[in-house]
């Protein structure tokens, strides 16, 4: 029986993971921004047979609320076996180029809040001496592309932070998994023109995340075909990369 904390629990990918954990008899502490949707997410998991579902509405960029959130989570679950960090936004790259405010805001949601949350969680998990921090980054963090480098840079910060944290917590028996999805059909990508053959469902992504948690994967590309694609993309020399307009 797993005790699971999810930040960004209304995310389509997080919901798909939670449903699979529900089938394994998990208890949840769900944190999300939108309280009405959070109630619907919680009802879904309860009706599907989750052992227990507790919720807390919190904006991830409300840094002052993090400690109280973690305290109530620990009060409810007593020990956290898995923490999944799933919240995120896809900023409009063009407006990020016009002014700094949207870029800074995108960083706050996608990078800074995750860094703040992971810092608190790391200490909790270190005390526990067990558990897995599963953090959703993105393939977009592997390389800076003209079409979305603000989002990519925030995800790069998360990936690098997780890599360091993994090395630190490894000694304490705590695992950190960096999850790098490719294109996924979720509200975040609604209305975008994406290459249909490369778009995965949240369920496909979730199956790999749930299996990755069991296997203690370090860097999880999902779907799996992104691993070789990103291997090539990471190795394209800079002078060529800047001309490719990927």
């Amino acid at each position: 029986m797993k005790r699971i904390l999810i930040i960004g629990a209304n995310s389509a990918i997080a919901t798909a993971c939670a449903r699979q954990w529900t089938a394994q008899g998990a208890s949840f502490f769900l944190v999300a921004r939108n309280a009405e949707k959070l109630a619907q997410t919680a009802a879904d998991l309860t009706a599907r047979g989750a052992k227990a579902v507790d919720v807390l509405a919190m904006d991830a960029t409300d840094f002052t609320a993090h400690a109280a959130m973690l305290a109530s989570c620990v009060r409810v679950l007593s020990q956290i076996d898995v923490a999944l960090i799933a919240h995120g936004t896809l900023p409009d790259q063009k407006s990020c180029e016009q002014s700094a405010a949207p870029a800074v805001e995108a960083f706050a949601v996608n990078a800074t809040s995750t860094v703040a949350l992971l810092t608190l969680l790391a200490n909790q998990f270190e005390r526990q001496g067990a558990g897995t921090l599963a953090v959703i980054s993105s393939v977009a963090g592997d390389r800076g592309r003209p079409s979305n480098y603000v989002y990519g840079a925030a995800k790069a910060a998360v990936s690098t932070f997780c890599e360091g944290l993994r090395a630190r917590l490894f000694k304490a028996g705590v695992h950190v998994m960096t999850i790098k999805p490719g294109f996924v059909d979720t509200p975040m990508t609604k209305g975008l023109k994406l290459p249909a053959a490369l778009v995965a469902t949240p369920e496909q992504i979730a199956r790999r995340i749930v299996a990755g948690v069991e296997r203690k994967t370090a860097n999880l590309y999902t779907p799996a075909f992104w691993a070789p694609i990103m291997l090539i993309i990471r190795n394209i020399p800079g002078p060529l990369f800047k001309r490719l307009n990927l």
Binding site: E36, Q40, A43, A47, R48, G191
Partner: protein, 438 residues
């Protein structure tokens, strides 16, 4: 951003652009936006209807698949409330381990709750349980300019009746509450036996149907002469032991659509001959899982692609009891003589339980379903001859499977259509509705 959507028969070839609503709170704004931009829209479940009844007149549909949350479940009483985009497979995955099954299920578990209501689907237990609508407690309907209305036999009952079998035209169902059926095992005790001709089928059906929860027959509609009308009669009941397990057989897939159909008269004849020979000549009991019993075709994902790029049509009619035997004989003889053979043919006696829905398809009688690869021959030669038989026998065709019926045939067979038209949501219209009422 999703790929173009099609109906299951991939005919008519009118790719639909999907606009997804991810949350109930977004549904009404999504419908309004598509309506304003394109003149009309239609809810789209999982595209398991064959013809054009799930295609919007504007070719822009509102997809409901992402509305896939359960809302509440009472496992003491077997009452489940869920969003309309939940599939029947998702319901079974959760309900079976708790001892509950769908009261009525069609031959695919990939239909959504909303789609099952909008076509008021029936299954192999129509003679014992009626249609999906007979087990529907209530639902919520989003109507343009009116917001969400709860509909049940006691509340907004005109909309309740018009929406069951209402072909997605009366509003978008955002959630529904259904009564499940208790089971002690997920396995099915079935009895299978061959029959030599239609007389034998009707005799078996009259004698045995009412002793069993489920009854259906497969018929070899390519067999001629002395073999004409031969087939296999199958009954089943939920077993009393064997565990409550979710069947999770690995699925095969047809990964792409070949240019031409792999199904033709020769391959169909070979398959039917082979299948017939595999079946026992005398009544033989077998215990099988619920997936192979109810959903044999779901085993192969995208099986509709084997019909090639032209797609295929299903011809499903129901003939009232009084005329059924003679009409079935005629329908099968016309089909056996036709240029294009039917690969699959399913025969089912429907019962007399009335549906609450206005445009529900089944009636007390016999239903026949035939699948044909799409060619111009169907609409010009074969279907007009079959339609004439159905018309003369006082029968009707199933809109969920239809891409050809004439407006006159529809309006005669479904006289309540005007009531549905009067309650139609002004933002919604389908290719089918325009064709048969326009």
């Amino acid at each position: 951003m999703s790929q173009p959507l099609r109906s299951w028969g991939r005919y008519p070839n009118l790719p639909q652009t999907g606009h997804t609503a991810h949350w109930r709170s977004e549904l009404s704004a999504q419908v309004d936006a598509v309506f304003k931009a394109h003149g009309s829209t239609l809810p789209f479940g999982n595209g398991r209807s064959y013809g054009d009844s799930c295609l919007a007149l504007s070719d822009h549909v509102v997809e409901t698949r992402a509305l896939d949350r359960f809302i509440s479940a009472d496992w003491e009483k077997g009452v489940l409330r869920a969003e309309a985009g939940v599939t029947l497979a998702e319901i079974l995955r959760v309900s079976i381990p708790r001892g509950w099954f769908l009261s009525v299920t069609p031959g695919t578990q990939f239909a959504t709750l909303g789609g099952a209501i909008a076509n008021d689907v029936h299954g192999k237990n129509h003679h014992s349980r009626g249609t999906f609508g007979n087990h529907l407690r209530c639902f919520s309907l989003m109507r343009h300019g009116e917001g969400a209305l709860t509909c049940s036999p006691g509340e907004n009952n005109a909309l309740f009746a018009a929406t069951i079998g209402g072909l997605g035209l009366t509003g978008v169902i955002d959630w529904a509450e259904i009564q499940l059926m208790p089971i002690r095992s997920s396995r099915i005790d079935s009895i299978v036996t061959r029959f030599a001709d239609l007389d034998e089928f009707f005799a078996l059906s009259r004698e045995l149907d009412h002793h069993h929860e489920y009854a259906v027959a497969w018929i070899d509609c390519l067999a001629k002469g002395t073999y004409a009308g031969r087939g296999v009669y199958i009954v089943g009941d939920h077993a009393s032991d064997g565990g409550l397990n979710v069947d999770d057989r690995a699925k095969l897939d047809v990964p792409f659509t070949p240019r031409l159909s792999l199904i033709n008269k020769a391959s169909s004849r070979a398959f039917n001959e082979f299948y017939w020979r595999l079946q026992p000549a005398t009544p033989t009991p077998r215990q099988v899982g619920y997936e192979p019993f109810f959903y044999p075709l779901d085993r192969i994902l995208n099986w509709n692609r084997i019909y090639g790029r032209a797609g295929f049509q299903q011809y499903q009619c129901v003939i009232p009891d009084i005329a059924a035997e003679a009409a079935m004989r005629e329908l099968l003889s016309v089909t056996a003589g036709a240029k294009s053979g039917s690969f699959l043919a399913v025969l089912k006696r429907c019962g007399a339980i009335a549906s609450p829905g206005l445009l529900s398809f089944p009636l007390a009688g016999t239903s026949l379903a035939l699948d044909f690869p799409q060619t111009a021959h169907l609409e010009h030669e074969l279907f007009p001859r079959l339609d004439a038989i159905v018309r003369a026998a006082g029968g009707r065709l199933y809109p969920a499977k239809d891409a050809h019926m004439t407006g006159a045939d529809f309006r005669n067979a479904y006289p309540a259509w005007e009531k549905v038209e009067a309650l139609r949501d002004p933002a919604l219209n389908s290719r089918f509705w325009k064709r048969v009422t326009g």
